[in-house]
């Protein structure tokens, strides 16, 4: 008996859970629908809703509940003329009427006022007797005009409705993705990676935010956080972008369909771009930025090791061809002085907070403490620097691109030792001792640009300025900072010696008599020295930003 009662209660609980789940899904659906409704932007869904409400109120209040309705005694020819004109007008000017706020009265306010009148008629609070015949006729013609206008707008808007795109996407692209055994790579705001089968993801257009979203585990996620990928679960376990395949799928469809699916296509392209930037900021730059210098579209890039759940994959993702300036226009939270990883992740965290993903990159356990903060600042400054140098690589000025390649190689190898060595510990000890008078700061992209615009022209001046700034730290320091002073002095000297050694090499040797060769060697020496100067500037600037309030401009 107790067993049976236990089984009954389990079954009851299961039923309750089923009901709870059902109502939860329904409530999420209703909430989603309500959430999508907005007066700010008029979409076909809203127009259809208003049309249906008005039609229902007319049928109830204007036809069923009254003996003499607004449509009694109307001239059929006039009614037909008005209806036809409004229908054509609505159809051809649907875009203008729905997007221009000045016409909102004709789509929302007037139909809703008419609905109100018909409700009054339905509850017989208003009686259209003979004494009000002019008003009755006016109401009749106005109702015909309004219904026709809404009908016209609906027929016009339906041509390019994103929700038509949704239907097309589900019937064309989604089956193709499933057939090709493609997956979606989801790069979350926390920097975590997840893989989903293509049929698990159903993108939907949100009229309110004008974006495509998808639901995963009751969580609404922008569709541009996903990118279609091909997962090779063979020996290499490789994930590679399926963007080119998806582009092919879209291009094989008629142009009108492509137009209807425009938002979906754009979301996929944005997702690809976002993940490309994240590969750069989260995987390439912190771990092996030197590969940036070897970037070449003809040679496959280095595979990045990623962990997805309990599994490890090699991610084969090409370097982004887009400029960061262009990318910023697409990304929602882009401000000038923001960390690029924050922007690319679309992170909800405050910009000054250390992200969980940054702690993971820096191999730190806790975000508390001076050291974590200083390391995060160093990582951000370094990421911005590498991004700037990477963007210079694609410039047409070959000497600059060559310089930047050299800088990337030498700074990336220095950075690994710098971030893992004792330097940061010594800095954190000092900032702790200074009790807030010394602070670490991030050098943002625009600041690096400003430093480099001067450094390209006058590298020695910028170098000596920073050299002096760091030298002053040592001269004015106290004995508590002996170790830090040592590291700073070593940095200054190593940077200086590197430049001088390159400058003092003889450009001509007895074996190189050819003028052409001499010129080439001289140019090579000049570039090496300039690269050494720029490298020194970057290193010293980074250290200085961790010890002082950063000054972007050289005074």
């Amino acid at each position: 008996m107790p067993e049976q009662s236990g089984g009954d209660s389990a079954g009851f609980r299961e039923t309750i859970e089923h009901i709870y789940g059902f109502f939860k899904r329904i409530s999420i659906l209703i909430y989603g629908k309500i959430n999508q409704f907005t007066f700010a932007r008029i979409g076909p869904g809203n127009v259809l809703l208003v049309f249906l409400v008005l039609l229902t109120s007319i049928l109830v209040g204007g036809q069923t509940m009254v003996i003499v309705g607004p449509f009694s005694g109307l001239s059929p020819s006039w009614a037909f003329l008005i209806s036809l004109t409004a229908l054509i007008f609505g159809h051809y000017f649907a875009g203008r009427l729905t997007r221009d706020g000045r016409w909102r009265w004709s789509i929302y306010h007037l139909p809703l006022s008419l609905t109100f009148v018909y409700i009054l008629l339905a509850i017989q609070a208003l009686n259209l007797d003979r004494s009000l015949s002019e008003f009755r006729l006016f109401l009749g013609y106005l109702t015909i005009l309004q219904l026709s206008l809404l009908g016209g707008i609906l027929s016009g808007a339906m041509e390019s409705a994103p929700w038509l795109g949704h239907a097309l996407f589900l019937r064309t692209i989604k089956p193709s993705l499933k057939k090709g055994n493609y997956h979606y790579l989801y790069w979350s705001k926390d920097g975590e990676l997840h893989l989903y089968k293509s049929d698990e993801i159903e993108p939907r257009w949100n009229e309110k935010t004008r974006m495509v979203y998808t639901n995963i585990n009751n969580e609404t996620i922008p569709f541009n956080h996903f990118a279609p990928v091909y997962v090779d679960k063979g020996r290499i376990r490789k994930i590679s972008s399926a963007q080119s395949k998806v582009d092919e799928m879209f291009s094989s469809l008629p142009v009108a369909w492509n137009n209807a699916m425009e938002q979906y296509k754009k979301a996929i392209e944005d997702g690809y771009a976002r993940i490309s930037w994240l590969v750069l900021f989260q995987l390439v730059i912190p771990m092996h930025a030197s590969s940036l210098a070897a970037q070449n579209s003809k040679i496959p890039g280095r595979l990045q090791r990623v962990e997805i759940g309990d599994e490890t994959f090699s991610l084969d993702w090409p370097f982004i061809q887009q400029s960061w300036e262009e990318a910023q226009k697409q990304l929602p939270s882009s401000t000038i002085n923001a960390h690029v990883l924050h922007i690319a992740l679309d992170s909800g965290e405050k910009p000054e907070d250390v992200l969980q993903v940054e702690l993971k990159i820096l191999e730190l356990d806790s975000k508390n403490g001076e050291k974590a903060l200083i390391k995060a600042h160093a990582l951000r400054s370094y990421t911005h620097l590498m991004l700037m140098l990477f963007e210079y690589l694609s410039l047409d000025i070959s000497s600059r691109s060559d310089l930047c390649k050299r800088c990337i190689r030498s700074i990336s190898s220095w950075y690994i030792d710098f971030i893992r060595g004792d330097f940061i510990t010594e800095i954190s000890r000092w900032t702790k001792l200074s009790k807030g008078s010394i602070s670490s700061e991030t050098i943002f992209l625009n600041e690096w640009n400003s430093i480099f615009s001067e450094a390209f022209v006058e590298p020695s001046t910028v170098f000596l300025y920073l050299h002096g700034q760091l030298g002053d730290i040592i001269s004015n320091s106290e004995s508590e900072t002996d170790d830090l002073n040592g590291s700073i002095m070593n940095l200054i000297l190593s940077c200086t010696e590197e430049v001088i050694v390159l400058g003092s090499r003889k450009p001509v040797t007895t074996s190189l008599k050819s003028e052409q060769l001499q010129l080439g060697r001289r140019r090579e020496l000049g570039l090496s020295r300039k690269a050494a100067l720029l490298t020194g500037i970057c290193k010293m600037q980074m250290v200085q930003s961790l010890l002082h309030h950063h000054r972007g401009k050289v005074s």
Binding site: P459, I474, S475, I488, M489, E497, L502
Partner: protein
Amino acid sequence: MMSRSFAQNLETYLTQLIHVSNCIQKLNIILVPDDEERCIEFKNRQLKHLLSGEIIDINKMSISSDEQDDDEGTERENNKIQRDFRRIIDEVLHWSDSRESHLGALHARDVGCHSPELSDDCLVSALELHGDKRWCQNCLKHNHPDFLVDKLNPFNCWRRGHQSSKMGFIQLSNMSNSGSLISLKPDRFFAAPELSALLNYERKKKFLFHTEISMDSSAMVAIFIIDNQPLAIDRMREIKRVLPAQLLVSRHIDSSKKTNKSRVKHRDDKMPEMVNDLLNKVHSTWKRRGPSKDSRGIIGVALVNNECEYISNGGLESTIDSFRERNKIWTGNYSSSDLNNGFKKLLHISDSNLPTNYAALCVILDPIIDLGGLGNE
């Protein structure tokens, strides 16, 4: 025969000294030797030229044999270029206020040369002061330290003066006699923050001196605090321990103490030998591996005696005298009480590290540096 532990310690000490010299050479690239405005300006210009790669070595202006063309006409042309260049340099040296950063175009006076041999009409460039020429070598004969007037570094020029106090140092070590063994233990190392910082950085790997910041380091001095007391005390203790065991008593043991100690010293005193070895090795090391190629090694030795009987009795006199004769250097002998407290503070000696019965052997190293800014490499 030299004791093994002393030899080992001395080797380590010399390695450290070479390391200090290397660090000074490195710092010489970026630091000013003199805080005079002209020197700061010169150093800035020089550094900028070095960074820009605009290095012209005046010595390399002469054409080496392998580069000479067989054509006689070209050779004549090259000689003419050299003569013209020399004329230009001579002309530049006539300028009253040269703003050049190249040493070949700077007059020796511009770098503070105060050699009595340098007359006003002498056209000697700062570059000519460098190398195996007489100027900086002979200068040592005319300028000597004098502890009684607080003169530790008698030079005022940019090469030896170190008016900026950024590259000088004072290194303290203890040399003690524990009977059978003489030990050498490096103690504290006083230097400007810059040199101290660089040495500290290296300390993580190999540097053993414990550095402390000193804002007044215009000379390069190695001070050895000599403690030769244990020898006498230990010998006396041994006699006192042996006599009762043999049921012997001596009434004269106290009165004969002085004679006995003196006799023991003469028989077993290893201190002069060790000091001689120390001076010779430090001298040759600093001469060979000092901050400049022109380094003369030890340029002076002074003994500061704080009532040390051993020194008063001339314990190291012959050693120091013979070293002076051999190397033609300055030596001085002072009583600690005769020195000003300020000067003792400069030397970082006080009653705590130089108590009664101790003496300090101050070895003044040649502080010469190269003004070229590229070190001795």
